[in-house]
Amino acid sequence: MAKQQQQQQQQQAKKPKKEVTKQYEQYVKQFTPRPKYFTNCAKAFVVGGLICMAALYIQNLLMKDGMSEKNAGAFVTVILICSAQLLTGFGVFDSIGKFAGAGIFVPITGFANSMVAPAIEYKKEGPVMGVGAKLFSLAGPVLVCGISAGTIIGVIYYLMK
């Protein structure tokens, strides 16, 4: 008898527990701030667009000096990467990132930041296994997947020819 009662009690206790958690989740949902979709997108659009426009401006300046389009493009990429990494070093990049969101993480600047940010964080582990390894902790996946995808496409083109 006592066992049956216990089981009944447990069953009873289980059911309301689930409901309680559900209710609690709903309750929490009311208070978690919803991302402001529109303002976030607008900020990302403007900042991302401005970065691309600045890149085009620099490229045009370089091409005026007689650089070929390909070289100028590479040079602009280098400039963007270096300035993003410098900003990360100064700790400014995070503040910009908070404001612009994807606007600064989707351009190549975000890739540059993803290399330096963890590397600085793990500096204490030494220049080889700390900085050297963590430089690729976020950029590694991007490089592995990107290079794999690009090369596979190239090989497919070679085979199709």
Binding site: P35, Y37, N40, C41, K43, A44, F45, V46, V47, G48, G49, L50, I51, C52, M53, L56, G73, A74, F75, V76, T77, V78, I81, C82, L86, T88, G89, G91, D94, A102, F105, V106, P107, I108, G110, F111, A112, S114, M115, V116, A119, I120, K123, V131, L135, L138, A139, P141, V142, G146, I147, A149, G150, T151, I153, G154, V155, I156, Y157, Y158
Partner: protein, 117 residues
């Protein structure tokens, strides 16, 4: 006119990223991977090249542009032979990647971690 297209296309790609960040639980590195791979695949299908022609840096500066130059280098190399197909992608992006690694290493060694504001 070029500047307008660069602004619109570049901003548009960033908005896609922002929507992914806000509406899904994808972390930033995953979004970066998705963008690079998507850029490479679109290039392979011949869909990204027109965008680059139209918007120039607006299409090459965001991360799909990185996938674009990887895939384009490999595809251009494929015309010359198998080895060129393997080396083409990295050859095309070598300057940016080398700068990112070397300069990133130097910056990481110089600066010390700062608490987030």
């Amino acid at each position: 006119m070029d500047y307008l297209y660069a602004f619109l296309i570049g901003g548009g790609i960033c908005v896609i990223g922002q929507v992914l960040m806000d509406t899904t639980k994808l972390t930033t590195p995953r979004i970066l991977v998705i963008f690079v791979v998507a850029g490479a695949v679109l290039t392979g299908l011949g869909l990204y090249e027109p965008l680059v022609q139209l918007a120039k840096n607006g299409a090459t500066v965001p991360l799909p542009g990185f996938g674009y130059s990887l895939a384009k280098g490999a595809m251009d190399g494929a015309k010359e032979g198998f080895l060129a197909a393997l080396s083409g992608g990295l050859k095309n992006t070598a300057a940016g990647l080398t700068a990112a690694v070397v300069f990133g290493y130097i910056v990481s060694l110089i600066f010390s971690p700062k608490s987030k504001r």
